[in-house]
């Protein structure tokens, strides 16, 4: 059936049952199984290939199902694919799709639906802002199709038969399967998209293969999803209705949460300690896969002073991250001395000397380094920090300014609107810039890849050894060794001043069960959840 030799050993997925909601023993279910979650803003689209937002992905994961899902800890478990195999050279993935998977209109979900969706993602006519994702997956011809040099039919994905999907990659990609939880890889029903055009995502038109069907979407007000009886595992789905409610102001959101209109809400900045004390069962701080840093402009347009690694080191040393985390942010964030978020699956934190020093020692060393470089309070180093409008960014910037000042660094704060900030960064028009990176998938490469010479890398850091390590990691037995080493280089070369690793601070009603709390990606599925009597 297949031209490739399969190493079936990798098909270890069957050991894990594809669980929907598992009601814990002793939990009594509530009569109404409805979950109301908070949205900061309007859902821009529920089109899997056009969505770019985290919140959009949360909704789409309930309306559609990809080849793989994530479990409560972030490990990949079967979704539409019941099983997969990888060829020995790591270049061909063959997925077996479960025959019982159906669209909400009753059609079977076939391999062709995935081929259609993936081609649609890469097709220049779709102009998807996430087209780069399929390039990152290293699917054969992805870049050529995105660029319009090859027809979309030449993309390295094909339906061997209705229930067998074959994907070929240009190079071995250890994180390939982890990328399949992302909504841009979810299947689509060609018939429906062609029938309704851009209106296909409207309630009534839309056909999905997820555990829920879209029944209402009022832009900026709410989005409603109801249980899909055609879903292959519908018998085990407990929640009957999910409603995303947009509340732009988090303080009003908190009032509405307390009034019982919302079951989950992100805590407004600075209120976590008070709420934790008042509602210890409801206020939670969960690791969240983003890292916050000041990026240093090392390009030709950057300041000469920052090209000196000792100056960068002094700046990094002098930031008292404990104050930033404990006094400013107050939400269970962790101080960062590296780039990759500490909770990323499999990531091994390297030994970074700076991390184990006391702040007094750090400050003393920073002072010494700056003096050696010729900067003192009388002859200060003048720098500018760009940051986009946000109370938190401003507070941290002011704190940094005050921490650096006694050492002879005059920091000018340059606040700008988000789009201007981004535009300046992308044109290397900055000295230091506030930045945060959020993982695309649960593996360290999503972070370390940023500083590859050819990566996003807005500060234009370039290090041959670093690039080589990333190159080696794709064929490595244990790529985490390379990631660890790469992080060590970042910690020495400091093209960034790491500040903190994100945490997500939420209020969650105690009767909401099955929301994952150990998955750093914060991926959740309505089908895994239930509401207990309250």
């Amino acid at each position: 059936m297949n031209r490739f030799l399969m190493s079936t050993a990798l098909a270890c997925l069957l050991a894990v049952p594809a669980a929907a909601a598992t009601v814990a023993e002793g939990d009594e279910l509530a009569d109404t199984q409805e979950y109301n979650f908070w949205l900061l803003d309007a859902i821009k689209t529920v089109d899997p290939q056009k969505n770019t937002d985290v919140e959009g992905s949360d909704v789409i994961r309930n309306l559609f199902e990809g080849l793989m899902n994530e479990d409560a800890k972030g490990a990949m478990v079967p979704g539409v694919a019941s099983d997969y195999a990888v060829s020995d050279d790591g270049l061909t993935y063959t997925f077996t799709l479960r025959p019982e998977a159906k669209w909400s209109n009753g059609d079977p979900v076939t391999a062709g639906d995935f081929v259609y969706a993936w081609q649609r993602l890469a097709d220049p006519a779709t102009a998807s802002e996430y087209a780069w994702y399929i390039e990152l997956m290293n699917v054969v011809n992805a870049s050529e199709v995105v660029a319009g040099d090859k027809p979309k039919e030449e993309l390295g994905v094909k339906a061997v038969d209705d229930h067998t999907l074959e994907v070929t990659l240009t190079k071995p990609t250890p994180y390939f399967v982890k990328m399949l939880g992302h909504s841009s890889t979810f299947p689509n029903n060609q018939k429906v998209i062609e029938e309704f055009g851009d209106n296909w995502t409207q309630p009534g038109n839309i056909v999905g293969n997820g555990a829920y069907v879209l029944t209402g979407h009022n832009l900026g007000v709410d989005i409603t999803m109801e249980k899909n009886p055609e879903y292959w595992e519908a018998d085990n789905v407990v929640l009957t209705k999910l409603t995303g409610i947009t509340v732009n102001d988090q303080n009003v959101g908190l009032t509405r949460y307390q009034a019982g209109e919302l079951d989950r809400l992100q805590i407004p900045a600075g209120q976590y300690p008070r709420l934790k004390e008042e509602f210890p069962d409801e206020a939670v701080s969960l690791p969240y896969s983003c890292s916050y840093a000041y990026i240093v402009n090392l390009s030709d347009k950057g300041p000469e002073s920052l090209k000196d690694v000792n100056v960068r080191r002094a700046l990094a040393l002098a930031l008292d991250r404990d104050i930033i985390v404990d006094q400013v942010l107050q939400g269970g964030q962790r101080p960062a001395y590296n780039w990759t978020h500490w909770a990323i699956e499999g990531f091994e934190m390297p030994d970074i000397p700076m991390a184990s020093m006391t702040q007094a020692d750090r400050t003393a060393e920073a002072k010494k380094l700056l003096e050696e470089a010729g900067y003192t309070p009388d002859n200060p180093l003048n720098l500018t920090l760009n940051y986009n409008t946000s109370e938190d960014h401003k507070k941290i910037a002011v704190v940094a300014q005050q921490m650096w000042k006694p050492l002879g660094v005059n920091l000018t704060l340059n606040n700008m609107e988000w789009k201007v900030h981004t535009d300046r960064m992308q044109n290397q028009d900055f000295e230091l810039a506030r930045y945060a990176w959020c993982a695309d998938y649960n593996e360290a490469s999503t972070f370390v890849d940023y500083f590859r010479s050819t990566g996003k890398n807005e500060g234009k850091f370039s290090n041959a050894e670093y690039d080589q390590l990333l190159q080696d990691s794709v064929t490595s037995e244990n790529p985490n060794d390379q990631y660890k080493r790469a992080e060590e280089i970042l910690a020495t070369e400091l093209p960034l001043l790491p500040i903190y690793h994100y945490a997500k601070v939420d209020m969650i009603k105690p009767y909401v069960k099955g929301l994952p709390r150990e998955n750093v990606m914060n991926t959740w599925y309505g089908k895994d959840m239930y509401i207990t009597k309250h």
Binding site: A42, K44, E261, T422
Partner: protein
């Protein structure tokens, strides 16, 4: 009069056109574009997007195409940020909402404001006057972004009477808080303008004559004082009406109404060129229309005014 209206309408067209051109130029002069993101898009993806939305055309071409689309098909283009919605759809969904709460707020503000202002003027320097002035100053200094969360706290959390936000055309419970929060400060301004203008009218000669004639106080106020006293109020109401029915970003944000007041600010921040232009044109056209209505009302109230 008809000639006047026709002339005004004829001027409206070049005014709108100028508005479009200026907004278009300003919008494109702002750094960043709709597809500027934290994660810079690969050049070919950006090129595909720009080709799709016509962003790779020269500026004059974009303006011409845009205006032509509006004139020919009344088509304001696709939104850059909501990929499966057109600007027409976004405005059609959001405008009826702001129109509903804006109109109700307007009625509330006018009725309460004029009554309060007139009553204060008639009973000048009595407790009623002090109360009316106190209330209107209080309402004026309490901005709606303070009032909105307080309303939610009281009516949703403490009393549990009203939903804390959202929108439904079927259920007026959702309208109450937006109407109050939006209308209060307008009400206060109307009350203050009415009061001072009423005081001025009440001390004028024709009122003294009416009193000397022995007309009953009720008749003097309703027929001879209120009408001229409303002139400055009406010139205030024209622009106020437009800004109320096109919504407020604060109301839309705090009550999650889904109105277009928020689109105005969001589209500018997101560089959603098409939505921003659509909303600008809507507000511009309404402003022109209602300043015309105000002028016509003027002529009706004040026989001295002739066009």
């Amino acid at each position: 009069m008809f000639g006047f209206i026709l002339r005004r309408l004829a001027v409206a067209i070049p005014t709108l056109l100028l508005l479009i051109i200026f907004s278009f130029l300003l919008m494109h002069a702002a750094p960043g574009g709709p597809f500027t993101q934290e994660r810079a898009l690969p050049p070919q993806v950006l090129a595909n997007l720009e080709a799709k939305y016509g962003l790779d055309d020269p500026l004059w071409r974009k303006i011409v195409d845009y205006v032509w689309g509006i004139v020919r098909h009344f088509d304001f283009g696709p939104s850059f940020v909501y990929p499966d919605r057109t600007v027409n759809q976004i405005i059609a969904a959001g405008f009826p909402i702001t129109l509903t709460y804006g109109l109700l707020s307007f009625i509330l503000a006018v009725v309460v404001g004029v009554t309060l202002g007139a009553a204060a003027a008639i009973r000048q320097n009595t407790w009623l006057d002090y109360l009316a002035v106190g209330v209107s100053i209080g309402a004026q200094v309490l901005p709606n972004f303070v009032m909105a969360p307080i309303l939610v706290l009281v009516f949703t959390l403490i009393l549990g009477w009203l939903p804390g936000g959202g929108w439904s055309f079927q259920n007026p419970d959702y309208w109450i808080m937006p109407v109050i929060a939006l209308g209060t400060s307008y009400m206060a301004s109307i009350a203050r303008i009415t009061r001072s203008s009423m005081l001025e009218v009440l001390s004028s000669n024709h009122i003294r004559t009416a009193k000397a004639k022995g007309l009953p106080a009720r008749k003097i106020i309703m027929r001879h004082a209120l009408k001229p006293a409303l002139l400055p109020v009406i010139s205030y109401l024209g622009p106020a009406f437009v800004s109320m029915i096109t919504g407020s970003v604060v109301i839309d944000m705090y009550f999650s109404t889904g109105g277009i007041g928020k689109s105005f600010v969001d589209s500018a921040l997101n560089r959603d060129y098409a939505v921003m232009m659509g909303v600008t044109i809507l507000v511009g056209a309404l402003t022109i229309l209602f300043s015309l209505v105000v002028d016509i009302l003027y002529a009706w109230i004040d026989p001295k005014i002739r066009y």
